[in-house]
Point group: C2
Chain length 278, copies 2
C-alpha cells in the first residue's frame, strides 16, 4: 500500500532533497493520523505532540495553521485513510551532526488508503509475542515520536513463526515498554496500569486519550514501571494506537487471555470518541 | 559546505523518494570516506563495514563492484575531499516498520570539498568536553554506522561555551564510549585502551586501522569497559576518525593534558598509511 497523495512543503511531490537531515540522521519527527468521515481524528493532540517533539529536538516547529490546512486538504471527504506527517530539521547547510541553526524544517505529508477496521480484532483481540530485541534507554529521546526507529524495524524483522500481530518490547533494564507500533495497558486487581515512558517508548496519542477518558470515568490509569512478572500476572492486557483504537490481547505467546470487563468498559467509553467527527 | 557532486543510485541527482525507509525510520547505514591524491582512503575497510552493517540490519548489500566504481568516479584526481555514502533499505512498498522484503536498497553518494587538514590540531591537540547526554545501550545496533543518529545530533546541540571541538560521550550505564564523531583511546601506565563497543558506539575504520597498526608494532590495544575514573587517570587521550586520523586531546574541560609519547609514536606509525595512495 503506497500513498495516493503526497505533499512536500505544501506542494505535490514525490521527492525530498538528499541533503535532508531526516535522511542523514533521522533528525525529525512523525505523526500517523487516522482520517474518517471527513475529519483528521485527534488532530490537535497530534500537532501538540509534534510541537513538544520539536522543542525536545530544538527543531523550530512549522507554523501550525499552515500544517493544519495542508492536512485538511488531504483528508478524504469520506471513508478511512491514514495521513503520515514527517517533519525534519530540513536540508543540511553543512556536514556533520551539529545543526548550523539556519535550517528550514521540511514537512512531508503522505496519505495512505486504509481498509475499514476489522471488527473481529476489536472484539476477539489479537495475538502478541515477546520481542527478543531490548530497547535502549535514553531519557533525551523517550516519549517523542522521532525518526530513529531502527529498533522497531529490527523487532519486526525478527523471525516469528506464530504470526503474531504485535510484538511486545522490554527495555535494556527489563521494563515492559510497548508494542512496536502500540502502547500497552495491563489490568491487575481491577486497576489499569501502563508503562512509564521516561526512558524509552513513544507517548501515543491514543494512550493519552484513553488515560484521560478512563480517569474521567473514575478509572485512573497508573503510569508505572512494569516488569515481565507484572505482565504475567495481569488479568487483562490491551493495546492502543491512533489507527486501531483499542485491541484486546487474547494471547501472548503460549498464554491465553480473555478480553475482560475493564477492557470492554474502556472500549465502550472510547467508542464515541473514535467515531466522532472532530 | 554542501556537496559538489551527488549520485543517487548511480545517476546524478539531488533528490530521493519520500517513501525511502532511510527517511521514515533511519533504516540504513552510512560511511564517510576521506579522499586524497586521487584515492578513496581505506575504501575496502569502509565497504567491509558497510557489508557487515547491512547483514546486521538484514538489508541486502549493494553490489560492491558497482559501489566501488561509483565511488571511484567521484574521487577527485587530486586534493582532499570527503565522500559520504548512504545505503538505505530503499523505498517502502507498504506502511509500517516491518520491511516487506521486496525493497531495493538505495544508495546516495555525496562528495564534499574538504579543506586540507589543519596541522596544528594533529600537533597540539584539541579541546574536548563531556556531553550531558548519555548514549542508550542496544547491542543490536552497537558497532555499526546506522542512520539513527539523533543522540549525536543532540550531543552537538548542547550548549558549549568552551568551544570544544569534540564531545566525549558516556553510556546510560556510565561507560566511556566515544566522541560524537570519533573513537577515543586512553593511555594508562604505557598501555593503550579503547572502549569496547558491544552496547553502543560505532566501530570506526580509523579505530580498526590504528588497533591493527599498533598491535603490529608491539603495542596491543585493549578493548575494555572504561569509566570516568579510567579517563581521569589517563596520561594520554587521543581521538581517531576516518577524516582526521589521530587528534591528541590537550584538554578535557578544565583538565589539561599533554600529547604524550605513545600518541606521538602511533601518529608516526600511522602517517605512512594516512598519506598512502591506496
Amino acid at each position: 500500500m503506497t500513498p495516493d497523495a503526497v505533499l512536500v512543503d505544501g506542494r505535490e511531490g514525490t521527492q525530498l532533497s538528499v541533503l535532508d537531515r531526516g535522511l542523514h540522521y533521522g533528525d525529525g519527527l512523525f505523526e500517523t493520523i487516522a482520517c474518517q468521515r471527513g475529519r483528521a481524528r485527534f488532530l490537535s493532540l497530534h500537532l501538540n505532540r509534534l510541537v513538544q517533539g520539536c522543542a525536545r529536538l530544538s527543531i523550530p516547529a512549522p507554523a501550525m495553521q499552515c500544517l493544519r490546512a495542508e492536512i485538511e486538504q488531504l483528508v478524504p471527504s469520506s471513508g478511512p485513510a491514514l495521513i503520515k506527517l514527517i517533519v525534519t530539521r530540513g536540508r543540511a547547510s553543512r556536514r556533520g551532526y551539529g545543526p548550523a541553526g539556519d535550517e528550514h524544517p521540511a514537512r512531508v505529508l503522505l496519505r495512505y488508503p486504509a481498509s475499514p477496521d476489522d471488527p473481529s480484532l476489536m472484539r476477539d483481540g489479537i495475538v502478541a509475542r515477546f520481542g527478543r530485541l531490548r530497547l535502549g534507554e535514553n531519557p533525551a529521546l523517550a516519549g517523542i515520536k522521532h525518526l530513529n526507529r531502527l529498533e522497531q524495524v529490527l523487532a519486526r524483522v525478527e523471525s516469528d513463526p506464530s504470526g503474531a500481530l504485535e510484538t511486545l518490547l522490554f527495555s535494556s533494564s527489563g521494563r515492559l515498554i510497548s508494542g512496536t507500533m502500540s502502547n500497552v495497558f495491563v489490568v491487575r486487581d481491577n486497576e489499569v496500569a501502563t508503562p512509564r515512558l521516561d526512558r524509552c517508548g513513544v507517548e501515543g496519542v491514543m494512550r493519552r486519550v484513553l488515560m484521560r477518558t478512563a480517569t474521567e470515568a473514575g478509572l485512573p490509569v497508573e503510569e508505572m514501571r512494569l516488569t515481565q512478572t507484572d505482565l504475567d500476572s495481569a488479568q487483562e492486557v490491551f493495546l492502543t494506537n491512533a489507527r486501531i483504537g483499542i485491541w484486546p490481547v487474547r494471547a501472548i505467546q503460549a498464554r491465553s487471555l480473555t478480553p475482560g470487563p475493564l477492557t470492554r468498559r474502556l472500549q465502550e467509553l472510547m467508542r464515541p470518541l473514535l467515531e466522532a467527527r472532530g
